[in-house]
């Protein structure tokens, strides 16, 4: 079986502050380091484990510029056999989903793993959209996954602390939550072996996705830092005094009690 995994190149958000382009229509990409989206690492690991248990080929797919292709190569040292780099701009979630769905169709994936969210646009939208476009079911925010190669069992965190165990048949799109597995570290021999692996570059045209399908229906503008908060204050006094004053302030000034 061909096991697909979606990978996105995202900026390291540990940066203290972003700089923006002159029109504030994006972040200044030159200022940031790009890496594999953290949640995609769990997706890659799960794909690699599935192959180790059941055989097949792990194919990682990304949409983006040459830099994204480079980030995709990092996954070749942690269990991915081959990369597919769709050379296109991520305009919005639906456009990206159309490209990924087209790759899944042309490759004939039997299952597709994704991260639950990409830390750049934070939409959590693409995996479910890909599943819809393929006519597959999906299970999101998955904390445990097992498969016999035909059916699967997954645990999903549905909110309110509730964990559901669900079953179904492949194909399916799975979105990985932190804790799904412990991603492996790159080993030197795997890094060397990765150099021989192939990343194929494809274009939207070659996938049969038209310019009209890629026209964004959501646009972003006015990028800015988070709203500033008024300067806070330190409440003086010993523990008992400070505690009483805090209660008074929360009640009378902030009006949250």
């Amino acid at each position: 079986m061909k096991i697909g995994v979606c990978v996105k190149s995202t900026p390291d958000t540990a940066i203290t502050r972003f700089k923006y382009t002159s029109g504030n229509d994006g972040i200044d990409a030159a200022q940031v380091k790009f890496t594999v989206n953290p949640y995609d690492e769990f997706a890659v690991e799960e794909a690699a484990r599935m192959k180790e248990a059941h055989g097949g080929e792990v194919v990682a797919v990304t949409v983006g510029d040459a830099g994204a292709g480079k980030v995709l190569r990092e996954t070749l040292a942690v269990g991915v056999d081959r990369g597919v780099h769709v050379d296109a701009v991520n305009t919005d979630s639906l456009a990206t989903a159309r490209l990924l769905a087209a790759v899944a169709r042309s490759e004939g994936f039997g299952v597709l793993f994704c991260g639950k969210v990409a830390v750049d646009d934070q939409a959590s939208a693409v995996p479910a959209m890909v599943a819809e476009l393929l006519g597959w079911p999906h299970v999101s925010v998955v904390t445990a996954f097992s498969t016999d190669g035909a059916t699967f069992t997954a645990s999903r965190a549905v909110g309110g602390g509730v964990e559901e165990v669900v079953t179904g048949a492949l194909p399916v799109v799975i979105t990985a939550e932190r804790g799904l597995n412990e991603p492996r570290y790159q080993k030197l021999k795997d890094i060397m072996a990765a150099k021989k692996k192939v990343v194929g570059v494809v274009t939207p045209e070659s996938l049969g996705v038209s310019a009209a399908d890629l026209a964004p229906v959501v646009t972003f503008s006015a990028y800015a830092d988070p709203p500033e908060r008024p300067k806070g204050r330190v409440i003086p006094g010993d523990a008992a005094e400070a505690a009483r004053e805090l209660v008074r302030l929360l009640r009378d000034e902030a009006k949250v009690l």
Binding site: T13, F18, L94, G161, E163, A239, A242
Partner: protein, 318 residues
């Protein structure tokens, strides 16, 4: 016909707070944009009562919606959008909002804008403000498709006053689809009163607590005294002081309460990403230079093991 459809979520017939919050916001946006507001729900809940917050109509997809199903939810929402002729859909950024609504957007060719923290009418169109990059940047989002689906972070607008009249409910026909995913087990944890993502008040503890026992002895009584839901930092969860479901931060829950009390939490970027939109942040920390201090409206610099019990006492007196 076009209008705003608000999706009202409920637990066993009791609407979540976000339902009234979103209906009231939709009513004010609808007045600016010249759009009617319809509130819709899935399953058995008194959706007409949400007319109190300004909805002009109500719709419902009835049926057996006991266990959550992605495909049933997506199908029911698509049916309501069609029945209402909605051009704008507002929904909470809940599990279902994140799980099922992107499918609806793909099905209808709609624009999908997730996790908005503000909505405004601008030049006859809806503009959403939302975080990106782990909350390090905010952007305006606009939809150019015929339908825009917006999920909104709970507590973004606060609790509205009711007072309007109940409205009539129209049933929307929906032929249930077979969901190939079967729920075989549902594990409900020892429940907290209010889910973290919807809580008005949250008390979170960090690694400084030192042990699970002390987390339970110090943080949970403060939570009880404040009527707050208890959360924890990633460091505290990794050290097993609190369960993963209580983790606030980039790899845990994103919360948006009126009051967030951070106890013994330094304020690492990954924690701030999950709580920085809280309205009032209180920090209790022995380190006056901890990053959390920059975000706190009120801070007490001191030993949490003295300050927190004193705070519990002060709350009892008040």
């Amino acid at each position: 016909m076009s209008g705003i459809l608000v999706l009202a979520e409920h637990d066993g017939g009791v609407f979540r707070k976000t339902a009234a919050e979103l209906v009231a916001k939709a009513a004010s946006l609808g007045a600016s944009l010249g759009l009617d507001v319809t509130v819709g729900t899935i399953g058995d809940a008194p959706v007409g009562s949400l007319g109190a917050y300004g909805a002009q109509r109500a719709v419902r997809v009835s049926g057996d919606f006991g266990a959550y199903s992605t495909l049933q939810t997506a199908g029911a929402v698509a049916a309501m959008i069609d029945a209402v002729g909605a051009s704008i859909v507002l929904a909470p950024a809940s599990y279902a909002g994140k799980d099922a609504l992107p499918r609806v957007a793909a099905r209808l060719g709609a624009g999908f804008v997730a996790d908005c923290t503000d909505l405004r009418a601008d030049g006859g169109a809806l503009v959403a403000r939302r975080p990106m990059y782990s909350g390090k940047a905010y952007v305006d989002a606009r939809v150019s498709a015929a339908i825009g689906i917006f999920t909104v972070r709970p507590n973004s607008f606060g609790a509205p006053a009711g007072g309007g009249a109940e409205v009539a409910v129209t049933e929307v026909a929906f032929a249930a689809v077979a969901d190939p995913i079967t729920v075989v087990e549902s594990r409900v944890p020892e429940s907290q009163a209010v889910d973290l993502t919807e809580a008005d008040r949250i008390v979170s503890g960090g690694r400084s607590l030192g042990s699970k026992e002390r987390f339970d002895e110090v943080i949970r009584p403060l939570g009880a005294a404040l009527g707050a839901t208890v959360g924890a930092s990633r460091a505290a969860v990794d050290a097993h002081y609190a369960p993963h479901g209580e983790q606030v931060g980039q790899t845990g829950k994103t919360v948006n309460p009126q009051l967030y009390v951070a106890v013994g939490i330094s304020g690492a970027i990954q924690h701030l990403a999950g709580m920085r939109t809280s309205r009032v942040i209180v920090a209790i920390n022995k380190d006056a230079t901890a990053p959390i201090m920059e975000h706190a409206a009120y801070a007490i610099v001191g030993d949490l093991f003295e300050v927190v019990p004193a705070l519990v006492e002060a709350l009892k007196e008040a």
